[in-house]
Assembly symmetry: C2
Homo-oligomer: 484 residues x 2
């Protein structure tokens, strides 16, 4: 047992997060000799796999196809679209040498893959009959961040970048694709129990080269907003630069239309941050590498201990066989039960089955719920159906609790003072009536101390609301929050 | 329908391979603007996933745990072990700039991960109780190859590098791990129907830093040997350099012992090259993204066509529901059946179900086998059980045929003339009695035109055999072949 863990709420969140990813053996950060690059350890890797499996399922079932593009991009390719390269040139890692030779052409570690993919799309797709085409890949991307890095949140190597790239015959079809992507990501975050708000990012904060960007933000326990997904309508920016011409159904020829959308390691950071508690991880059952752990508890009597051990193995086999859950048993005789409890609590295992002399004598099992930190005892014959109910209930409760906490930190305000107070004191996202002018938004940001997240996709209830900067009628709300 | 495809045998193999990976939409090579880097397209990506799934299953079930390490390695880390860096320094890509700034420390794109992993092992493992530890990852590695590159075979970005790294308490346990790795890879290749020979690589060809290297070689259709897997006993080379000290069971402290082993994209190249034929891919069912394709065949009568279409959908649903096979139906009405046949043949789909007016009237289905290029007709009620038999038989036949071809090209010879003739004319692997001296091996290589692959792990039947160079008694066989 180590010293007391930090509390995840308020200003201690960063320390708690660093503690939990290390103590639960999720992700090793800050010890590898390159800043901003960490290691997925076996337990963390399994969580990551479960999250990615769900994402792939959602993408594959909506006609997306997985591919794998080279990691390196030539300087020429990256420079092909002027606005795009301007957005990235300060933060690209450059490969300049192969062995002892200097390369003729500098190579960038991809910061994202629009240019590489558009370059190949020109070779692969010429006709509307091949469209829409939806490709995606899960890869490492690199950004030479000059800001302070944070594990899984602001990295120089983002190792879990799922980027989708789609090609369409028309503006409208790309627009429809943006909606599909928003829908896919919504289902993904819903399933993870990660609450979110969807905003159209302001012009000054859209993806370099995009017509517009829609983004998902969630809230970390310290009240800062974290961008966890973005969807871009790319228009014809890249297809023009790379001359991707499409024969359309009406026999005309036009450049294709594109979208791209991505999520990253931040999804897993959010899963950990939102559901975890001061004792460690709390994993929704679907994303728990171990869903049920069986821990036998020895008796002072050696013979009885043997019988308990056999009974525990029976329990384990029964649950394995009858439930389909990911169940494990910890038969280590050197470690005390309390130590095991502590370890599996840190690792966020949703249910622990405690099987000791009393349970053996009664033919029962003690079921411990990680989320509520509560025990109950059930008869062996009712165990599997109890587990089904308990795991379903954990999932439901974690989601409800996350959304409740999130909603309580979205504030609709009408004055800048309120905005500032909520951002500073209560920590969350404020929505301020906005006239639509850039300068008013910048002044809102300065006055409130929050960054502009953008505007809701659909707005109602504006009747009578005024922009608190200029006093004109509001046309929408501007959302503001302190951000990562 | 395109021009006639090249023949895969003999000198045309390279052209055939380039053709098939393009025509079957497996891997796009030679068009991306960086030499030696290709793209896994959706169909190829699925084959790759099926291959990796099997490999992960074998590794996970033998106690290996998947992790993910950073792609970049500092110059210092790489230089820490002298012999190792010497082996790689000429072929490492170097990152020297982040944005417009020059980096303080040059960063290498990993050519392999021994140093990164050993560096972290020192932080994670101190006691024999934590050992053996078996980690692996599936990642891109980079080598600035100056030789001619070839798709999936000699790349500058190897995108499917599965590297395992293990840590042990003793030399003996690492030795045992080498055997386990050889066993895992043997089962893996057996399952893929890729025949192989296992050799202990000669001293001058072992991995930089290893005590010894064991390698798997297969034969390409042109008779050249291709290294498809390697297993290294690393001794204490890296644990000494990084001071990974382990408390042993006997209470002494010693540096840990390591092994590492890897396979790459070459496994998929072999799967394609060995089973394919002049018409395209021939995939073993387990590795086929589509195992069964249903193709309805229209009638000249429109009403009957409608009935055939409905019947084909019935067939499709029945197979989906009852068999668990990956089955698809091609309902496209614009494409002629012959075109569809051609496409699925190139893609190596093991079984095609042809459903036309005759089949509809008879309540039957025509089953076409891609491997034998043969048709038979079965009653609908017998279809699922027939498919089970046919797919199992395809798997068996492909394996047998691959091994038969391979074995027929391993020649045990006693003179250098024979060795040279077999290597030049028949193209394969020769085994020459060898006295064990380096200089005799080099002379064998010069005289025969073959590269030294190494020696069998176990040798018998040496009675009376002499080294053809020096005339001394042979202690083993040296294997030679032209190689990739």
């Amino acid at each position: 047992m180590s010293e007391k863990s930090p509390s995840k709420h308020g200003e201690g969140f960063g320390r708690w997060f660093d503690w939990v990813i290390d103590a639960a053996e999720v992700y090793d950060y800050g010890r590898y000799p390159i800043k901003g690059m960490g290691i997925w350890r076996p337990y963390g890797f399994k969580i990551r796999e479960l999250v990615l499996a769900r994402l792939r399922e959602l993408l594959n079932s909506t006609g997306h196809e997985e591919v794998l593009f080279p990691l390196l991009v030539t300087e020429d390719l990256l420079a092909k679209e002027a606005e795009h390269v301007k957005g990235f040139e300060d933060e690209v890692y450059w490969v300049t040498h192969g062995g002892l030779e200097e390369l003729d052409v500098k190579l960038a570690l991809r910061p994202t893959s629009e240019v590489a993919i558009t370059y190949m799309e020109k070779l692969w797709y010429q006709s509307y009959r091949q469209l829409p085409k939806k490709l995606y890949q899960v890869v490492s991307i690199f950004r030479y961040e000059t800001k302070a890095t944070r594990p899984m949140i602001r990295l120089r190597e983002v190792t879990t970048f799922k980027e989708a790239h789609t090609l369409h015959e028309s503006f409208e079809d790309a627009d429809r694709q943006v909606s599909e992507a928003v829908d896919v990501y919504s289902r993904f975050f819903d399933d993870l129990g990660i609450p979110y708000i969807v905003s159209k990012r302001p012009e000054w904060d859209k993806f370099p080269g995009a017509l517009y960007t829609v983004a998902f933000d969630t809230l970390m326990p310290d009240g800062r907003a974290l961008q966890i997904g973005t969807v871009h309508h790319l228009g014809q920016t890249f297809t023009r630069a790379f001359e991707v011409k499409i024969y359309r159904k009406d026999e005309s020829v036009d450049f294709g239309w594109q979208t791209s959308y991505g999520v990253s390691d931040r999804v897993i950071a959010s899963l950990i941050a939102i559901h975890g508690d001061d004792r460690g991880l709390v994993l929704p059952p679907r994303y728990a590498p171990i869903q049920v752990i069986v821990v036998p508890i020895p008796s002072s009597d050696e013979d009885e201990t043997e019988r308990v051990w056999r009974y525990a193995e029976n329990v384990y086999e029964r649950v394995s066989r009858e439930s389909g859950f990911r169940v494990e048993i910890d038969l280590d005789r050197e470690k005390r039960p309390a130590e095991k409890f502590y370890d599996y609590e840190i690792k966020g295992v949703p249910v622990r089955l405690e099987v000791g002399p009393r349970e053996f004598r009664e033919g029962s099992v003690t079921v411990f719920r990680r989320d509520l930190f509560k025990r109950s005892t059930v008869k062996l014959e009712d165990l599997v159906s109890t587990l089904q109910d308990v795991l379903a209930d954990i999932d439901k409760r974690l989601k409800e609790s996350a959304w409740r906490g999130f909603r309580s930190r979205i504030y609709r305000v009408s004055t800048l003072d309120e905005a500032k107070r909520h951002i500073e004191e209560k920590a969350g996202i404020v929505e301020v009536p906005w006239c639509g002018s850039d300068s008013c938004a910048f002044r809102m940001s300065d006055a409130s101390g929050g960054k502009t997240l953008g505007t809701p996709l659909e707005v109602t209830d504006l009747e009578g609301l005024k922009c608190p900067i200029c006093g004109r009628d509001a046309v929408t709300f501007m959302r503001l929050a302190r951000t990562y």
